[in-house]
C-alpha cells in the first residue's frame, strides 16, 4: 500500500493557491455585497442601499482588523469555562473508556495490527472531537441570544468581530485542550498496545533446500510468531517479518559452540517513512517512449502495465538525488508492483523483474538487482554509493553455478533476501535474463556516474523544466508473456525515517485542523441560524467536505453521465453513461442547460465546502508514511484560507442582525 498523493512543495503550491483563494474570496464578497444591495434596495431604495452597503463595508474593514486581543481572550476564556462547567470533560472520559476496552473489539488476528490501532484511535478521536465541537458551537451563540446574555456583552465596548473571534478562539482552545490529553493517551495506547516480544521456540535446523541457511521458529505472542533465518555464510540471524514488523535479534555464541538468541521489542511496526516520488515515464515493447503502458483490461486504469522480456520499461526520474538521501550508505528504493500473468507458468514461482539505475544525460545504465515478485508484491532495492560489480553479490561472472545457470552467490543473496521477506525461493532465474546491465567498468560512484547534475525535461505544454541532480530508475519485467503494473507512486526513494512520535503528532494536527474548521463553521452558522439548523448546516459542510472531490468534479462537468437531469434522462431511456445523447432532442438541450446551472451551483458549493478528507492524515500515520512539513503547512494555509472569509461572514451576519430579535 502506498500513499498516492504526491505533495508539492509549499513554495510551488502557495502562489497559485493564494491567487485562486483571493479570486474566490473577492467573488464571494462581491456577490454578498450585490445581494445585500439588492435586498436593501427593495426596502429603502437604491440610493440609500448603496450608502448602507458602503457604510457596512467600511465598518467591516475597520472592525475586522481592529480587534482587541484582551477582549477576544476574555470572551474565549468565557466560552472555554462555560464548556468545562457544562461537563465537557465527560467526552474525554468516554474516550478513555473506549480506549480501555478497545482491546475487546479490535481484531487480534489482523495482519496489520499497527494500521488497525492507529486508524481506530485516529477515527475515534476525530469523530468524538468533531461531533462535540459541532454540538457545542451550534448551541453556544443561539443560547446566548435565547438567554439574552449577549445583551450584557454587546453593550460593553466589544466589537461584533470580537464576539465571533472570541467564540472561535474559545472553542479552538477547548478542542486543543481536549486533543492534547487524547493524543497522549492515544500514543500510549498505540505503542503499549502492541508491545511484545518472543523467545526462540524451535532450535535452528539446516534448510533442506539451501545449505547456506538455517531456520527456526519463535514463540507465539499476540497471535503470531516469526521465522528465524540464520545466514551461515555471513553468520547473521534474521527474523522474517510478520504483522508488519520484525524484532531485533542478537546472537551470542558460547565457547561450547552453542548459540543463544535474544529478541527485542517490535521494530519497523511504527514507522514514518520519508519518501520522495519521481515522475513516471514508459517505454513500449519496441523501446519507444510512450504516454502510458498497456491496459490489461482493468476498468480502473490506475496502474499501467509493461510486457515482459521486451524493451518495455517503467522509468522514474528522481531529482535532488544528493548524498543527503543516503540511508546507511545507500539509496533505498521501495517498489510496489502488480503482476499480470497471461499464462499460468509456474504459479508457485514468482515473476522476475530487473531494477536498473541510469544517468539521463550520459545514458550509463547499471543493473542493480534482479528481483522476484508475486501477484502484488513489494520490493526493496538498495543502491550503495560505491558500486563494485565484480565483488558484490551482483557479480554475474562467478564460476559457481546453480543447475539452472545462476551464480551461487547471486542465488544465496536472492534466497536470503526473499527469506527475510517471509517468502521462499523455489527456483532461480536463468543467467541470460539477469545479464542486462552491460557495464564494462568494475567500480562506479553513484553520484558521479549515475546522477546528472542538471537535466531538462519538457512538460505537456512543451515548456522546458530544468531539474538538478537527476537519476533515472528503470524497472523491467523479464519473463515472456508476463506483465508488471505500476503507477507513479509505486516507486519511491526512501529517505531516513522521521520519528514516529513526531508523525503521530502531525497526524493529530490533521484532526486539529478538522476540529478548527468545524468550530469555525459552527460559530459562523450560529450567528444567524437557530441551533438545529446550525447543527444541520455544519453537518452538511462536514459530510459534504468528505465528498469534495466529487463535488469539484461535478462542478467542473467531469462526471461521466452528466448532471442530475441528464442522468434522469439516461435512466428513463435506459441509455448507459458511455453513450452520447442525441443533442438535437429538445429534452436533452433543456436538461443540459439545467445541468449547467446545477454545475455552477455545485462549483460554488465546492468552494464553500472544505475538502475535509485532505486534512485527514491518519492514513499516512497508519501506513507508516511521514506527513511532510509542506503538507502540514498547506493544510494550515487551507484552514486559514477558510477561516478568514468565514470570520468576516460571521461578523457580517451578526452585525446585520438585531441582537434583541
Amino acid at each position: 500500500m502506498v500513499i498516492e498523493e504526491n505533495v508539492p512543495s509549499i513554495f510551488t503550491w502557495f502562489p497559485s493557491a493564494f491567487l485562486e483563494w483571493g479570486m474566490a474570496v473577492c467573488v464571494f464578497f462581491l456577490l454578498l455585497g450585490f445581494l445585500g444591495m439588492l435586498f436593501s434596495s427593495l426596502r429603502i431604495g437604491p440610493g440609500n442601499a448603496f450608502r448602507l452597503v458602503k457604510k457596512t463595508a467600511r465598518q467591516t474593514l475597520a472592525d475586522v482588523f481592529a480587534v482587541s486581543g484582551k477582549r477576544v481572550g476574555a470572551l474565549g476564556m468565557l466560552t472555554f469555562k462555560e464548556a468545562l462547567r457544562r461537563k465537557v470533560v465527560v467526552v474525554f472520559i468516554i474516550f478513555v473508556l473506549i480506549v480501555l476496552f478497545a482491546g475487546m473489539f479490535l481484531d487480534p488476528t489482523s495482519p496489520h495490527p499497527a494500521q488497525l490501532y492507529v486508524s481506530f484511535i485516529f477515527n475515534t478521536t476525530a469523530y468524538l472531537t468533531i461531533v462535540l465541537m459541532l454540538l457545542l458551537t451550534a448551541f453556544s451563540l443561539p443560547a446566548d441570544f435565547q438567554k439574552k446574555t449577549i445583551h450584557t456583552i454587546v453593550t460593553k465596548p466589544v466589537r461584533i468581530s470580537e464576539v465571533v473571534l472570541g467564540r472561535i478562539f474559545g472553542f479552538a482552545l477547548l478542542g486543543t485542550a481536549l486533543l492534547v490529553p487524547m493524543g497522549l493517551v492515544s500514543y500510549g495506547f498505540v505503542i503499549r498496545g502492541q508491545a511484545h516480544t518472543h523467545t526462540v521456540q524451535e532450535e535452528l535446523r539446516l534448510d533442506d533446500k539451501n545449505p547456506l541457511l538455517e531456520r527456526g521458529q519463535t514463540t507465539t505472542a499476540r497471535d503470531h510468531s516469526h521465522k528465524i533465518v540464520f545466514d551461515k555464510e555471513n553468520r547473521v540471524p534474521y527474523l522474517t517479518p510478520n504483522r508488519d514488523h520484525t524484532h531485533e535479534i542478537r546472537m551470542t555464541e558460547r565457547p561450547d559452540g552453542s548459540r543463544h538468541f535474544e529478541l527485542g521489542p517490535p521494530i519497523e511496526m511504527y514507522r514514518a517513512r520519508v519518501v520522495q516520488y519521481g515522475d513516471i515515464g514508459y517505454l513500449d515493447q519496441r523501446g519507444i517512449v510512450s504516454e502510458k503502458g498497456v491496459n490489461v483490461g482493468d476498468e480502473w486504469e490506475y496502474r499501467s502495465f509493461i510486457a515482459g522480456n521486451t524493451d518495455a520499461a517503467f522509468i522514474w526520474q528522481f531529482d535532488n538525488i544528493t548524498p543527503s538521501a543516503l540511508v546507511d550508505g545507500a539509496l533505498q528504493f521501495e517498489f510496489t508492483q502488480e503482476v499480470f500473468r497471461t499464462h499460468k507458468g509456474q504459479i508457485a514461482r514468482q515473476v522476475i523483474g530487473g531494477f536498473y539505475i541510469r544517468n539521463p544525460e550520459t545514458g550509463l545504465m547499471l543493473e542493480v538487482e534482479i528481483f522476484q515478485s508475486n501477484e502484488s508484491g513489494k520490493s526493496v532495492f538498495r543502491v550503495p554509493r560505491m558500486i563494485n560489480i565484480s565483488a558484490d553479490k551482483m557479480n554475474l561472472k562467478s564460476g559457481h553455478r546453480n543447475p539452472n545457470g545462476t551464480s551461487a552467490s547471486r542465488a544465496s543473496a536472492v534466497a536470503v533476501k526473499i527469506a527475510r521477506q517471509g517468502g521462499e525461493l523455489t527456483s532461480y532465474p536463468p543467467e541470460e535474463q539477469l545479464n542486462v546491465g552491460g557495464a564494462s567498468r568494475a567500480e562506479f560512484d553513484l553520484f558521479a556516474d549515475f546522477v546528472a547534475p542538471e537535466s531538462s525535461q519538457f512538460d505537456a505544454q512543451g515548456r522546458e523544466i530544468k531539474r538538478k541532480n537527476v537519476m533515472e530508475v528503470w524497472v523491467k519485467c523479464l519473463e515472456r508473456g508476463q506483465y508488471f503494473g505500476a503507477a507513479k507512486p509505486d516507486m519511491y526513494l526512501r529517505h531516513r525515517d522521521a520519528p514516529f512520535a513526531w508523525n503521530f503528532f502531525k497526524g493529530y494536527l490533521g484532526i486539529w485542523f478538522q476540529m478548527l474548521l468545524v468550530t469555525i463553521y459552527g460559530v459562523v452558522f450560529s450567528t444567524f441560524l437557530s441551533t438545529p439548523v446550525t447543527v444541520l448546516a455544519t453537518l452538511f459542510m462536514t459530510l459534504g467536505g468528505r465528498f469534495h472531490q466529487f463535488m469539484a468534479m461535478m462542478g467542473a462537468g467531469d462526471v461521466e453521465g452528466g448532471g442530475p437531469m441528464e442522468a434522469a434522462i439516461r435512466l428513463f431511456r435506459q441509455e448507459n453513461m458511455t453513450i452520447d445523447l442525441n443533442m438535437n432532442s429538445y429534452e436533452v438541450i433543456v436538461s443540459k442547460m439545467l445541468d449547467t446551472v446545477f454545475q455552477a451551483f455545485v462549483l460554488f458549493l465546492s468552494y464553500l465546502v472544505p475538502a475535509f478528507s485532505r486534512f485527514d492524515t491518519s492514513e499516512y500515520v497508519s501506513q507508516g508514511f511521514n506527513i511532510s512539513f509542506d503538507m502540514v503547512l498547506m493544510n494550515f494555509c487551507t484552514v486559514a484560507g477558510y477561516a478568514v472569509p468565514l470570520y468576516i461572514l460571521g461578523y457580517l451576519c451578526l452585525k446585520c442582525r438585531e441582537i434583541e430579535r
Partner: protein, 314 residues
C-alpha cells in the same frame, strides 16, 4: 446650559415580519434629551415603548428611522460603551460563573487593569451586599441576588451614563430601597441615569425628570415635582391636633373661601412600614415588631413630611 448626553431624534421603531410586513409600530418619532447629571425616568404601561427606546439607544435594536445617540455617538461606535453601564430588565448573566468571576470578566472587556478590576469587583460585591456569596455560581442565587450582581456589572466600569431597565424588578422592598438609594447616590456622583419602570412610586422617589410613553408616543415630559404639583389644593401637615384646633382651622379656611377636604392622621406607605419592621426585627431579634400604627411624621430636609419609627424620636 447643561450638556446633553442622551439624545433621540425622530426615533422610530417598526417591527416587521420576515417578509417585511409591518407588525407593530413600537415607537413613533421620539425626540428626547437627557442632560448630564440628571435622573430621567421613562414611564408607561407594558408595551408603551420604554424598553424599545433603551434597546435602540444601546444598539440592541436598529431604528427604523431617526437616531439614538449617547455622547453624540450612535450605537455603531462601540467606544462610547466604555462610558455606559447597562442593567437589563432581567439580569442576563452567565449563570455558570461566580459573582467574582462575572465581574472580572466584564472588567476585562473594559481593559481594566487586573489589580483595579479585583478591587472594584470586591467593592461592588460588598456594595450590593453579596460578599457572603461571591464564590457561588449564579445558578445558586435567588432572583434578587442575581439582580444585584447585574447592578454590580453595570457599574464595573464606573460609567458616566447608567441605563437601568426596570431596576427594581425582582427586588424585595429592602433591595428596592437600596436600589433607589444607589440611584440617588449615582446622581450625587454626577452620573446621568436613565431608567424605565412602570412602578410609579420608584420613579417618583428618585427621578428628576420623567417622560411618559403610551403606545410608542411621548405623551408628557417634565420635572417630577412640577408635574406632580396639584395646583388647586394646599397641603398642610402638623403634629397631631385636638378636635377643637381642627374645628378652628376649618373656620379659618372657610373664612378665606377654602374648604377642608379631609382631616386625619397622615398615612405611611407600605414600603416604609415593611422597612421599619425589618429594621426593628434586626435590632431586636426574637421580639414581635410593633411597627403598625406607630408611625409618626418627621420633617425631612426638604421640608416635606416623611414617616419614621417612633423610637427614632418624633
Amino acid at each position: 446650559m447643561s450638556e446633553v448626553v442622551v439624545e433621540t431624534r425622530n426615533l422610530t421603531k417598526i417591527y416587521r415580519d420576515f417578509w417585511g410586513r409591518r407588525k407593530v409600530h413600537a415607537l413613533k418619532s421620539l425626540d428626547l434629551e437627557i442632560n448630564r447629571g440628571e435622573i430621567f425616568g421613562l414611564l408607561g404601561p407594558n408595551g408603551s415603548g420604554k424598553t424599545t427606546t433603551i434597546k435602540l439607544l444601546l444598539g440592541l435594536l436598529f431604528p427604523s428611522e431617526g437616531e439614538a445617540l449617547i455622547f453624540g455617538r450612535n450605537a455603531s461606535d462601540v467606544r462610547r460603551n466604555e462610558r455606559i453601564g447597562y442593567l437589563p430588565e432581567e439580569s442576563y448573566l452567565y449563570r455558570f460563573l461566580t459573582a467574582e468571576e462575572i465581574l472580572d470578566f466584564y472588567g476585562k472587556l473594559f481593559h481594566i487593569p487586573a489589580a483595579v478590576r479585583r478591587q472594584r469587583a470586591n467593592d461592588l460585591i460588598e456594595m450590593v451586599g453579596l460578599g457572603y456569596a461571591k464564590k457561588r455560581q449564579l445558578k445558586e442565587y435567588s432572583k434578587g441576588m442575581v439582580r444585584r450582581v447585574g447592578l454590580a456589572q453595570a457599574l464595573i466600569n464606573d460609567p458616566e451614563v447608567v441605563i437601568l431597565d426596570e431596576p427594581t424588578s425582582g427586588l424585595d422592598p429592602i433591595g428596592t430601597r437600596d436600589m433607589k438609594d444607589l440611584i440617588l447616590d449615582l446622581k450625587r456622583q454626577g452620573k446621568t441615569v436613565l431608567m424605565c419602570s412602570h412602578l410609579l412610586a420608584d420613579v417618583q422617589d428618585v427621578c428628576d425628570r420623567i417622560g411618559i410613553l403610551f403606545q410608542g408616543e411621548l405623551k408628557e415630559i417634565g420635572r417630577v415635582d412640577s408635574l406632580l404639583t396639584v395646583k388647586d389644593t394646599t397641603d398642610i401637615q402638623t403634629t397631631t391636633l385636638p378636635d377643637a384646633a381642627v374645628e378652628e382651622i376649618r373656620e379659618v379656611v372657610k373664612k378665606y373661601g377654602g374648604e377642608v377636604k379631609s382631616v386625619g392622621n397622615t398615612r405611611t406607605t407600605l414600603e416604609d412600614l415593611f422597612l421599619r419592621i425589618v429594621e426593628e426585627s434586626r435590632l431586636h431579634p426574637g421580639r414581635r415588631a410593633h411597627g403598625a400604627g406607630n408611625a409618626v411624621s418627621v420633617p425631612s430636609e426638604e421640608g416635606t413630611a416623611a414617616s419614621a419609627d417612633p423610637s427614632n424620636g418624633g
